[in-house]
């Protein structure tokens, strides 16, 4: 890594402990991690190994019990809940296993959602939405609702939603977990295109070794410890 370029993600001594009643359950232990800007990295590990928790910390959805999480040069611990929400909308694109599209909105309206938090005009939002749908190859499906799309198409709409604000970081939590092999490959090809073509930083959690193969670097987590 070029020492002059600060990493996109930097974790230092990060631990996370959940409390179940009076019992403390450690999920992550002293994780140190650095992900370069423009990298495509995958996290693997068995269920309960802490990989989703790690993803939540990096994306600002959760806060560490101890340690520092810095993303795009910002220490997330310094941000209030509302500031963190604003920060996420400006810097992070989310891709979930179950797509999490709003079923009553069309593909284009779903993609437009994060743009509603920006000062862009309606016309500008339309242009961004068209471009994002073009990238994922779904311009012809812009007026369709999620129930009228296949699983693979829904996930591509979710990817369009994740990139429409041109975020620094794209977070994908089991993005192919609910897809057939062919759809999964299409999604992973898209990730590679985003990585190589648009130099996006992608962080993916997956159980699927074939999916992980597409990443530049694969991290393994075991019982909350980064191997």
């Amino acid at each position: 890594m070029d020492a002059a370029v600060p990493p996109m993600v930097r974790l230092q001594g990060v631990s996370k402990v959940y409390r179940r009643g009076s019992v403390e359950v450690p999920v992550l232990e002293s994780v140190d991690l650095s992900i370069a800007s423009g990298a495509f990295e995958a996290f693997m590990g068995p269920s309960g190994s802490g990989k989703s928790t790690l993803l939540n910390l990096i994306s600002g959805l959760d806060r560490p019990t101890t340690g520092v999480v810095e993303v795009a040069g910002r220490d997330l611990a310094q941000l209030s809940d509302a500031e963190l929400a604003d920060w996420r909308s400006a810097h992070v694109g989310f891709i979930f296993q179950l797509y999490n599209l709003l079923p009553v909105l069309t593909a284009a309206e779903n993609v437009e959602l994060p743009l509603l938090l920006t000062p862009l005009s309606r016309a500008e939002r339309r242009r961004h939405v068209a471009a994002a749908l073009e990238v994922v190859g779904l311009s012809h499906r812009r007026s369709h609702r999620p129930s009228e799309l296949s699983g693979g198409e829904q996930q591509r709409v979710a990817i369009a939603r994740a990139i429409v604000t041109d975020p620094d970081l794209i977070i994908a939590d089991e993005p192919t977990g609910d897809l057939d092999r062919k759809s999964a490959e299409q999604v992973l090809d898209l990730f590679e295109a985003l990585h190589h073509g648009l130099r996006k930083t992608l962080v993916m959690v997956t159980h699927d070794p074939n999916a992980a193969e597409h990443a530049e670097r694969i991290h393994h987590l075991e019982k909350g410890v980064l191997q």
Binding site: L61, D62, R88, S89, V104, L113, R161
Partner: protein, 385 residues
């Protein structure tokens, strides 16, 4: 802000529960608006009888013409006061009137109490709003009666050419009149002396005095009350009829608003259940919205707006249904005069606005707890739902 079309389509997606909730809210708004319109209708019907230039004379200590009895001399003296207007023939526009209740048969074997007014020569001239719509006014010295328009067809013989029976006499109907929608339209008018003798009254119950100008009303009232020869109470005719309306209108308003309040609790609970169900079925969606950057307050506002939409729709439907009631005519007993009065539902912009606000308020109250729940959801828990 979460887009409004997300809310409207989500509500449309659950058409059945949305429709039932809106109907519940609409029903309460209907009751609320109808009651206010009814109370307003009573006030309008009774107070429309008042003319700002007229003064009603009653015996001191009485509140209505039915319980009043005045000396004939008093009117003769007071009608010479300078404030009193004159007819084209030069006669003072002052009329002593006998007011009694008559029981008339109604369909179904019931009896309705009707105010019968025994008029004198200047009674009609003193009331410019009174207009004959058919036939003529009763001739002096006969049993003829003219009916207020609301009485038409209400009792056997209540039509021009028919005849009424009361006080063991027959009273031919010779005319029908209107009175600007006022209480006189629920009365029957006959010759004062004939009506008085039929009911054993040898003097007027009250008197109506028309003044040259509404500005003279206070002067004339002071003159009457300052005169030690009479024990009379004088008040403007407008005030008199407003007072007649007050008790009944207030009773209906208070009872109706209480019923609306009780019903509204049920409607608010209905809206709350609907909105809880909406939130419960969309937890993952709300979690996604929070994850991509929508703040808690945006989610709170979105759910509140959605339940507010339920309330607005219910408010509009309820107000429209209440508006349709303006074509319904109602008769009831005015327990201040014991006579039946006829009136309609009187919508006003203020009542319609209040109905809309009431509906919206119920919707928002019903949505408050579900909205707080939605806003307080942990993003991670919501995304896992």
């Amino acid at each position: 802000m979460v887009p409004l079309y997300y809310n409207t389509r989500s509500l449309w997606g659950r058409r059945l529960s949305t429709g039932l909730t809106v109907m519940g809210l609409g029903l309460v708004v209907f009751v609320f608006a109808a009651v206010l319109m009814l109370a307003r209708g009573i006030e309008a019907a009774l107070s429309a009888g008042g003319d700002p230039s007229n003064v009603v004379l009653l015996r001191e200590g009485t509140d209505s013409e039915l319980g009043s009895f005045m000396e004939r001399d008093a009117l003769r003296v007071l009608s010479t006061a300078p404030e009193v207007a004159s007819s084209v023939e030069g006669e003072p526009l002052a009329a002593g009137e006998v007011v009694v209740l008559v029981a008339l048969p109604r369909d179904g074997g019931n009896v309705m109490n009707t105010t019968a007014r025994g008029i004198s020569a200047q009674s009609v001239a003193a009331r410019p709003t009174v207009r004959l719509v058919s036939g003529r006014m009763p001739r002096p010295g006969t049993n003829e009666v003219a009916l207020g328009a609301s009485l038409l067809g209400r009792t056997p013989g209540a039509t021009v050419g028919g005849a009424l029976r009361f006080a063991q006499q027959v009273w031919p109907v010779v005319g029908v009149f209107t009175a600007g929608g006022g209480a006189f339209e629920s009365e029957l008018w006959a010759d004062g002396r004939r009506l008085g003798s039929a009911f054993g009254r040898d003097g007027p119950s009250s008197a109506i005095v028309r003044l040259s100008s509404p500005t003279l009303v206070d002067t004339f009232i002071r003159r009457v009350e300052a005169d030690p020869r009479f024990t009379l109470k004088a008040q403007s005719e407008s005030n008199y009829w407003e007072e007649q309306a007050t008790a009944l209108a207030t009773f209906i308003r208070v009872l109706g608003l209480f019923v609306s309040f009780v019903f509204s609790m049920g409607a608010i609970l209905g809206a709350m259940i609907t909105m809880y169900a909406q939130v419960a079925s969309r937890i993952a969606e709300l979690g996604m919205l929070r994850a991509v950057g929508f703040r808690r307050r945006s989610v709170l506002a979105s759910v509140m707006i959605e339940s507010g939409l339920l309330g607005v729709t219910g408010g509009v439907l309820g107000a429209l249904a209440a508006l349709a009631m303006r074509w319904v005519d109602i008769r009831t007993l005015n327990f201040q005069t014991f006579a039946e009065v006829s009136f309609g539902f009187a919508p006003t912009p203020g009542i319609l606005l209040a109905a809309l606000l009431f509906g919206t308020g119920m919707g928002l109250l019903g949505g408050l707890l579900p909205a707080l729940r939605a806003a307080r959801l942990s993003i991670l828990d919501a995304l896992r739902a």
